[in-house]
Point group: C2
C-alpha cells in the first residue's frame, strides 16, 4: 500500500507530508480494511497538517479525512458481510484517507451504492452534511419558504446548500465576489445572486423585496457577513463555519440588541460527536440518496493519483474556485 503520512507540522503541505510505502495493513478486531477509490482534498486537511485546525494529527499519521472505497477484509469478530461493501469514509479523525488502503471502524462508514459516482460519494462526509446541518439545525427549518442568505455561495458547501435549500423549498440569497462566480451559482438554480462590494446592502435589499433572512450562513467573515446580518429577521441567526477573509464575522450592536440577532458557529465534528450514531447514519443515508438521484453534487476541478501528491498540494494551496480536488486510486 501507499499513503501520504505527516512527517512534521508545516504550513507548506509539500514539506509536511511524505509518500510512504508499507505492507497492506491487517484490520484489528472490530475494524475493516478498505481499498480506496477516491479521497477528497479539503482545505481543512491542509490546516490540520499546518497545526491550524481543531484537530492536530500526530507525525506518522496518514492525512485525509474522507473518501470512498470498498471493504476487502474484516478483523476478527467483525461482520464478514461487510466484505465487498462499497463505503464512504466519514471525517471522524480516526483514520487517514490519502492512502491506497485504509483501516477504519464500521461506525465511521456509510454504505453507498455500487453504481454511484466515486468522486461525488468521496465528498459525502463533510461538505454536504455541513450544508444540511446549517439548514436543519438553525433558524426555522420547518418554514419551507424561508430565506437563507450565504456568503461564498460558489464554494462546495455553497453549492450543496443551494441545492438542498431548493430541495426543501427555501429561497436563497447568494453573495459571491466575482461575476463569473455568479454565473456558476445561477447555473445551480439560484435565483438571487448578488456581488459583494460597496453596493451589497442595496443589492440585498432589492433581492429580498421587503422580506428578511431566517438565517445567514457565512464562511468569509468581515463586512459581507455583517451586511447579511442587517437583513436577518427578528431573532435570526448568522452562523459561521469558516473565516476565509481572516476577519471574524460580526453583528452590530443594533442587530444584536435591537433585533435580537444571534451569531454562532458550526463545526461538523461537534455535531457528529454529540449525535446518536443511528441518527447521524440516517441523516447520511438521506444525503446518499440525494447524491444518487442527482439532486446533490459539487463541481470537481481536478483529480490526482497519489504519486502526483506534490502537484495536488500546490493546487490545493491556490484554490481557483473551479471545484474540488481529489485523489483517485486507479491502480486499486
Amino acid at each position: 500500500m501507499q499513503r501520504l503520512a505527516l512527517t512534521r507540522i508545516s504550513a507548506d503541505p509539500t514539506h509536511a507530508l511524505d509518500l510512504q510505502s508499507a505492507a497492506e495493513p491487517t484490520p484489528a478486531p472490530g475494524q475493516v480494511l478498505i481499498q480506496m477509490e477516491a479521497a477528497t482534498i479539503n482545505q481543512t486537511d491542509l490546516l490540520a497538517a499546518a497545526g491550524q485546525y481543531f484537530v492536530t494529527p500526530t507525525p506518522g499519521a496518514t492525512i485525509g479525512s474522507e473518501g470512498v472505497g470498498r471493504v476487502i477484509a474484516v478483523g476478527h469478530d467483525t461482520d464478514t458481510a461487510l466484505v465487498g461493501q462499497r463505503v464512504a469514509l466519514l471525517a471522524t479523525y480516526r483514520h487517514g484517507t490519502w492512502a491506497t488502503h485504509v483501516v477504519a471502524s464500521p461506525d465511521d462508514l456509510i454504505a453507498v451504492p455500487d453504481d454511484g459516482d466515486a468522486l461525488q460519494l468521496a465528498m459525502l462526509g463533510i461538505n454536504p452534511m455541513t450544508a444540511l446541518r446549517l439548514l436543519r439545525d438553525h433558524g426555522n427549518p420547518d418554514d419551507p419558504d424561508r430565506w437563507i442568505g450565504q456568503t461564498a455561495a460558489n464554494s462546495a458547501v455553497g453549492e450543496y446548500l443551494i441545492k438542498l435549500a431548493h430541495h426543501f423549498g427555501h429561497r436563497t440569497l447568494n453573495v459571491v465576489r466575482r461575476e463569473h462566480a455568479a454565473d456558476d451559482v445561477r447555473g445551480w438554480g439560484a435565483e438571487h445572486v448578488v456581488l459583494d462590494g460597496p453596493d451589497l446592502d442595496d443589492a440585498v435589499t432589492a433581492a429580498l423585496a421587503g422580506d428578511t433572512l431566517d438565517i445567514a450562513v457565512d464562511s468569509v467573515g468581515g463586512p459581507a457577513s455583517s451586511t447579511l446580518g442587517q437583513h436577518l429577521r427578528y431573532g435570526g441567526t448568522l452562523v459561521t463555519y469558516a473565516a476565509q477573509s481572516g476577519q471574524p464575522p460580526a453583528l452590530s450592536q443594533a442587530d444584536l440588541i435591537g433585533n435580537q440577532a444571534s451569531l454562532t458557529g458550526f463545526w461538523l465534528h461537534n455535531w457528529w460527536q454529540r449525535t446518536q450514531l443511528a441518527t447521524s447514519r440516517e441523516e447520511y443515508r438521506q444525503l446518499v440518496d440525494l447524491i444518487g438521484d442527482g439532486t446533490l453534487s459539487a463541481r470537481v476541478d481536478r483529480t490526482f493519483p497519489l504519486a502526483n501528491w506534490r502537484d495536488a498540494m500546490v493546487a490545493a494551496q491556490a484554490p481557483t474556485g473551479a471545484g474540488k480536488l481529489l485523489f483517485t486510486f486507479p491502480d486499486n
Copy 2:
C-alpha cells in the same frame, strides 16, 4: 403640573429638554392619572433625547421611562377601583415619567405596596427585569449551580443580577474595572470578583477552577467580553445589553466554530412587546416581592427635585458608579 419636555434632539440633555408647566391633565377613557413620587434617570433616557436609542421621542414629548406614583383619577369607562392604588410605571415608551403628573394605560402599570421604598420601586421597570430576563431566558436556567459571568458587575443591572443569581443558587463571576468597585460588588455577596486588565484571563481561569460559564452577560464590549467568551461551556452564550466601551462584543472563530458559542443581545422592550401581558405582569409581581423583602435593591447615588433638572442632567452625563440618579416629587 410640571414636566420635562423634549424641545429638540440633542446629545446634551440640558439643550434637549425644558421644564414646562401645564394644567393637570385629564385621563382619557382607558387611562389613569398618576401623581408621581419618583422617576428614575436612566442613561437610555439621555440616549433617547439624543436620538441615539431604539426609540426616538417626538419633540414635545415628556422624557423619562419609569417611576412610581399613585393613581389619583381615572378616565371614563375605566376601573374606579384603581384610584388610590400605588403603582410602578413600566418602560413601555407610551408615557414620559419626568413629570409631577403622568397619564398612562393600566396595562403599563404594576401595583406596588404602600410601604415599599419609593426609590427602589421607581427602578422596577427596567434594570431588575433586564437582569431577570438575562438569567431566565439564556443558557440553562434550570441548572441551579451554573456559573454566570458578567462585565460591569458594579452597574445597577450587575447588582440586580448578582442578587437574583444568588437567590436562584447560581454562581457569579464578576468583572469590574476598578478595585473600589470590586469592594462594592463583594458587599452584595459576590464571591468571585476579578479585575479587568491584562491578567483577566488568568483571574477568570483561577476563579472557575476548571468549570465553565453557562452564560456571560456583557454591557461593556471589547476584550473583557471576548475573555469571558473563551470560558463559556460548549454551546454557551454571550449576551450583550449595552456597549459602554463603544466596542462591540466579540467571540473568536475558535469559540464560535470549535465551541459552538453564541453571541446575542437583549433589549427589554422586545421582550415586553412579545410577551403576553399576564405573563409579563406575573414576572414583575415576583420582582415586586423580591424588592419588598429586601432581596433586590440597587444603590441610589442622588435624587433631584424636578426644578434642579439641569443639575440632574449634568450628573447623569458623568456617571460616578456610585448608584442611580432619580427625580423625586416632594411637593406631590
